[in-house]
């Protein structure tokens, strides 16, 4: 399984996702600088977390117009799976590859802590490592993770089972308190129509080692790598 991790100026969780992928595959993914002339062929493209271009305009807005994103979109159109985590999710929405937008958290504060997620659809390459309805504990670390879309888009996401994860309580139940960033319908991650593009705010790559406080993210990468092999 060959993965490419695209690095923008200001990306900062590329090490974390590379470590998680290499833990599962046994080898480091290829890192591609956003201005490198050619992106190698791969089975997976990852847009890591961080603050691409400082996020000084809107989160992800500058990176979405970086030339490398034309290539990412072309590959995605041809079926190469694309995973955007945190800032990567923001870039995918700004690039129009996923619907909706990520507004500032309801608290207007950056929030770094463990949250619970419910897996909403396990019939995808990204989530096949989980049981339906499984509750995970993984960290979040973002200021702008409040997922927002118009009601028609939200209904369409629900109807087509394009919601990947929702914020929930430890028992899988939903409440406003658990939906800490105020996301519409507690959405933490969504797929595109073909379910080959996933954007999510939480960081499964930071939950792959029992020493670091949890392993619930490991099945994410095991399932994904297994599906792409």
């Amino acid at each position: 399984m060959k993965a490419v991790v695209v690095i923008f100026p200001g990306s900062n969780r590329e090490r974390d996702v590379c470590a998680a992928l290499s833990l599962v595959t046994g080898h480091q993914p290829t890192r591609v600088w956003h201005r490198d002339a050619a992106m190698p062929e791969s089975d997976l493209i990852v847009l890591p977390g961080g603050f691409a271009y400082g996020d000084y305009l809107r989160c992800g807005a500058m990176a979405a117009h970086s030339p490398v994103m034309r290539e990412v979109r072309d590959r995605a159109d041809k079926g190469t799976p694309v995973l955007g985590i945190c800032n990567g999710f923001q870039i995918l929405t700004e690039a129009g590859m996923l619907p909706g937008a990520l507004l500032p958290n309801r608290s207007l504060r950056f929030t770094c802590r463990d949250v619970h997620l419910r897996v909403e659809n396990t019939q995808t390459i990204f989530t096949c490592g989980y049981e339906a309805g499984q509750v995970l504990r993984v960290p979040v670390a973002h200021h702008d993770g409040n997922y927002t879309a118009d009601p028609d888009t939200l209904d369409r996401l629900e109807d087509r089972s394009l919601v990947a994860f929702r914020y929930c309580g430890p028992d899988g139940g939903f409440s406003e308190a658990e939906n800490f960033n105020g996301s519409a319908r507690a959405i933490a991650g969504i797929f595109n129509d073909s379910r080959t593009v996933l954007g999510l705010m939480p960081h499964p790559e930071n939950a792959v080692d029992p020493l670091l406080g949890g392993t619930d993210g490991r099945a994410f990468f095991e399932g994904l790598v297994g599906a792409l092999q």
């Binding site: 974390d16 998680a20 996020d55 950056f110």
Partner: protein
Amino acid sequence: MRGRSNVTPALAAEHGLTEAEFERAVAILGRAPNLTELGIFAAMWSEHCSYKSSKVWLKTLPTTGPRVICGPGENAGVIDIGDGDAVVFKIESHNHPSFIEPYQGAATGVGGILRDVFTMGARPIAILDSLHFGSPDHLRTRHLVAGVVSGIGGYGNCVGVPTVGGECEFHPSYDGNILVNAMCVGIARADRIFYSAAAGPGNPVIYVGAKTGRDGIHGATMASAEFSSDAEQKRPTVQVGDPFTEKLLIEACLELMEGEAIVAIQDMGAAGLTSSAVEMAGKGGLGIELDLDRVPLRETAMSAYEIMLSESQERMLVILRPGGEAEARRIFTKWELDFAVVGRVTETGRLVLRRNGEVAADIPVEPLVTAAPVYQRPWRRRDPEPEIDPASLSDRDPFECLQHLLASPALASKRWIWEQYDHLVMGNTVKRPGGDAAVVRVSAGGKALALATDCTPRYCRADPVRGGAQAVAESWRNLTAVGAEPLALTDNMNFGNPERPEIMGEFVGAIEGIRQACLALDYPVVSGNVSLYNETNGSAILPTPVIGGVGLVANVRNAIDLALKRDGDALILIGETRGHFGCSLYLREIEGSESGPPPPVDLTAERRNGDFVRDMIRAEHVAACHDVSDGGLLVAIAEMAMTGGRGVILEAPPLDLPRTAYFFGEDQARYIVETADPGSIFEAARAGGVSAHAIGAVGGVALTLSGAGAISVNALRAASEAWLPDYMAQV
């Protein structure tokens, strides 16, 4: 040099130079300085850059040891952690700017300390912040807390270095002068450390990073004077941070450091281009010529004076080997950073600046550095406080007092703060904020670092010697409590106006206490920072010598925390309880008194008890451990219970001490350990002459004490967690 100088002693005084200092500058030059030169002398001889009041005392601190690669004097200290790895770390204050403009002040404090660490060739892996704010009731405090915390987060989160720990205290003495001390820790190869001494006459001097603007001019001078009521008007002296550029600068510098192009490198911190150029030339015993027309500028028509004194952020000065320019240019262009050859190293021993084709300054470097004034300021010790007899205290319900203490600003949970910091990025945070020390993994082989910042200012106020020693001892204890071997520390000496003998006495005393403890604990000082003049209208802060400690955990799997793990385990108190009550939090929060002497610090007992606890952790006899400090024994037990979500059935207090003194006294050198094997611990304690007492058993969902009833752990946690978010939500 063109024209006659119109610099007068009065203008020099406005720059913070005394008459004698001005005369010395004139003698060095053999003429009156021009305005640019005056600015350079004033910056280099400011308290902030010259340490003129503190130098003679700082020299008395122990700074060497088998692991020390580089002690104080460089951008940061360096210690050896084996396998060819080195830890590079330092703490630095950004107090004055953070009070004036909390977001940018705190953000640029983080930026500055990051640069000190990666300048030496290290990748930053952790940030910690020691914060001291005024009374929660002061009108300004909420605004300052919000601004400082979001500034630290805004910068650290964006550069992608985890903020893993620190501390936050409130006291009215900080109403007019808050403290924002940021510590950065990095990892380098021990044989790839970069220093700042210029070498090789003719070598090119390059400027990299962000452009120079008019921000922060006179920052160093501003930080060397006390505030009056006009602090607001000093806002233009505060710099503006750009963490995105810093992130690029980290990556570009570390990439350039992989090659052989660099001779010396120095970040532009306080006093900007002035101090970086002067320090590089001074350390190398050489001269530097700079053509200021080549400095990348953000604004037009900047004078030599403004360029030299700007404190614009995210800039570095680098001396390259001959022919190294092409490689450096390629790397800095890739990272879209400014790059310019601005001068060269010379043999003249002079700092020569050109602007618009003319010489704008010409100063001999050696006397500028070595003839900087050094003061033996007069100092005086305050009279010691009388002891407090624990029997004089009224007996109160211990659980009510406990709940009150846990909801006090000093002890209440600081989760509201650290959840705004990305403490997980880089994927190595083994022990997160909220414990005795953070633990960060540094290698796949299983090595990790334990990191903490500590100080108990109220102890330092009452007895600076004891307070200084206690800050070091508590730091050493906090690292020990997670299973680490304490290696070395960095100190941030925050005090009032040193020209007042009683303030200078606090400084001298704290240094003496720190010295004693460092020697007794083999815990050298490898870097540090001094921040004086933290006072407003003659009212000074509590003396606050913050200790940033670094310890080594050889096998990260042996690192432990304070969360109670298993019902049925025994809790054992290591160390002696005498019920010392002076300066205790109980006295302050419950009785409303800040009187009495701080607890004595028995450094022999500290060493013995700490070594014992660390041995027990390594032998895997300990499931959880916590040092006993602020608030005393019952608070420590409650913190273990709240973190682990388990209750404790407490043993009855000993009969020879009043109950209140036993539960809330703040005797030092104590730890609580949770163990499934009390027999082994008692046996080893007897053999080692260590005091060990059973104090309770883990179980249930409450703290329970015969004769005093019970209090639920959830209720305690709710009280502790609620205070700060509730406070910040008030408008």
